[in-house]
Symmetry: C2
Subunit: 429 residues, 2 copies
Amino acid sequence: MTQLKKAKEGIITEEMREIARLEGIEPQQIRKGVEDGKIVIPFNPNHKGLKPCGIGNGLRTKVNANIGTSDKYPDSHPELVKAKAAIDAGADAIMDLSTGGDVKSIRKAIISEVNVPIGTVPIYEAGIIAQNKKGSIIEFTVDELFDIIEEHAEQGVDFLTVHCGLTLEAVERLRREGRITDIVSRGGAFITGWMLKNEKQNPLYEHFDRLLEIAEKYDVTLSLGDGLRPGCIADATDRAQIQELIILGELVQEALKQGVQVIVEGPGHVPLNEIQANVQLQKKICHGAPFYVLGPLVTDIAAGYDHIAAAIGGAIAAAAGADFLCYVTPAEHLGLPTEEDVKEGVIASRIAAHAADIVKGVTGAKEWDLKMAKARKGLDWEAQLKLAVDPKKAKKYRDVKNPSDVETCTMCGKLCAMDLIAKFIKNVD
Amino acid sequence: MTQLKKAKEGIITEEMREIARLEGIEPQQIRKGVEDGKIVIPFNPNHKGLKPCGIGNGLRTKVNANIGTSDKYPDSHPELVKAKAAIDAGADAIMDLSTGGDVKSIRKAIISEVNVPIGTVPIYEAGIIAQNKKGSIIEFTVDELFDIIEEHAEQGVDFLTVHCGLTLEAVERLRREGRITDIVSRGGAFITGWMLKNEKQNPLYEHFDRLLEIAEKYDVTLSLGDGLRPGCIADATDRAQIQELIILGELVQEALKQGVQVIVEGPGHVPLNEIQANVQLQKKICHGAPFYVLGPLVTDIAAGYDHIAAAIGGAIAAAAGADFLCYVTPAEHLGLPTEEDVKEGVIASRIAAHAADIVKGVTGAKEWDLKMAKARKGLDWEAQLKLAVDPKKAKKYRDVKNPSDVETCTMCGKLCAMDLIAKFIKNVD
């Protein structure tokens, strides 16, 4: 029975209880959130050793890190190292987007070694197999696609990205609208190619009931992909994007009826002043389903620093109600990230998530900052380093830049305002 | 005659004309903005070789980089290197905050070698001299302070930070309010110490007319400092901060009457959802004077990555109307930044400024992104690298990660959505 079905029956599961403990809120609130479809617990019982993690309304904003091989870099080992680096840096979930080498074995290794929720995009594998066997990534049958989806679920994947809302109708809207970058989602491109080639409806939409059966059987959370997300600022919030969102909203309702947990993926590239509207729209249209945003990037020109463009967009999105941030690394738009890129991406997203959690009123968020403020005021360097989002990097800076006899820091030295004011006030009071 | 006095007389100066050309707008609009006090041109005629730069309403959001020695690092050479690195990375202005070594010579060297507007905080020098001569940083007289201010102006400094609004009244409000981090502005700390010790009003407030005389004589832009800016999230937008802002608003009006250009400095550490209110408040209270924000940092816990926390806050502030962003480096709160930190800080602020310029409707901002989007769609790597905010870093990523035969990139390889969709649509149309 899925977490959602249990929630509907009033059952507080062990996972709900653990999440409540981690978040510092009441178990009953978790159960109610799951029942209402506003919280998901991506927790596939086949993923052994998994630590429960809740995503959604009232909870700490979570961060996902994508890792995975590609055709030019098919070796699994570096990707496992990156997954671990991401978790060390504080990632709450990992998506394995491998498309090079033996993707099934890679996935198996990642599931067995990683104890946070794992997500995948099964259509990639369908495309790769088709490419290898038939020379074209869209030469797969509906059955082949669903077999792969079930295989992922059976292996223990906790959430599956499925581009169910990218229908023929949505593609037609895309054509009428006209776009600069058309489709930038890989899964979206596969599905669109498949539909155009076969002149048939998107199988993930047409056979959504089949998807629900698999998701129900394994308690896999569906992450409804946004195949029509904008790939540049100019394409943001257009009719094609919103058409797909409307269809996803309908599918959310179907999934919930069936007892299947579901989240919705969102943009993408969005100008800063359209982010709040995007989040509000998703929350309304999808009846409060958790929102998983990919960035959003607030400019197209930050190649090499897209983690910063994404942190800006992610913070605004999360403050407006987005629940789950997909990290972006400095390598975005340029190539496969290194371990260092992965770490930088996770930390940038965590800063965005935390800045939002402060204003969302998430339990413990403001308190963390308050502790840091007090440590600063007290010139307590040990506490400051410990409280930093990345204690290792903070310590490295502190050690390199400051001789050990410096009580303040080398930026202001004897002119430290904190130090001066403490002395002045002491002298005068 | 100051730029402002000329603007009032309907004169379009050479500098206004050049700024209009750089910004792609009408010279008359620049003149009007200066007349109304909504645009400043920090352009001290004694700063030889200076390139004109406009800051304010309707113009590209500008970025300032702070450099300068400290007691533990008194050598001027690295600071000159950092100033050049900042300008190479796209900084629009440099503040020399030197407090170590021979600060007068360092300033002279920076003014002579740097062709963007230079700002300073003269009270630092008053404090250092007092410290060296009398053993206490607050043992300076009013005349000594004003002599130093005039010396900076005479040397060619283009804008001066002066903490004029931190009055006894404001300090009293600070006491009544109670704060976690009290005063974190160095200049603010000096002034407060001076006032408490001497039991006298802030000389920069009491003798504001004297300040205006100097500013008028040299056409130095006054940057009214926020000595009471919040130093942590918990202290943001409190009565002390807003009390100082109200006083600054009154001083803005006096300065404009006198024909003196003026900008207003703002926070600091501010939760994400209070930034817009802070900008609106400054714009109203200060009658549209350009707003120069220090960050703002949206969380206290990002030590080692404060450039990212500042990029989030800076983008939101600039989108709400802030005109000038003071960068923050990854070394903030930990020590003096290195050259690499300076570069990272400038780029992060430029991304924030540009993301805001897109939504502010600044001439050319959207167009830059559109060019990048088209280059991406066309898989035109040369154009993509050229259009990146930091072409060198983008090229390095591209070169390291991608064998030269890769037409797409190693992230998606053969599965590049851009590439696939182009082919599908071509095949089907």
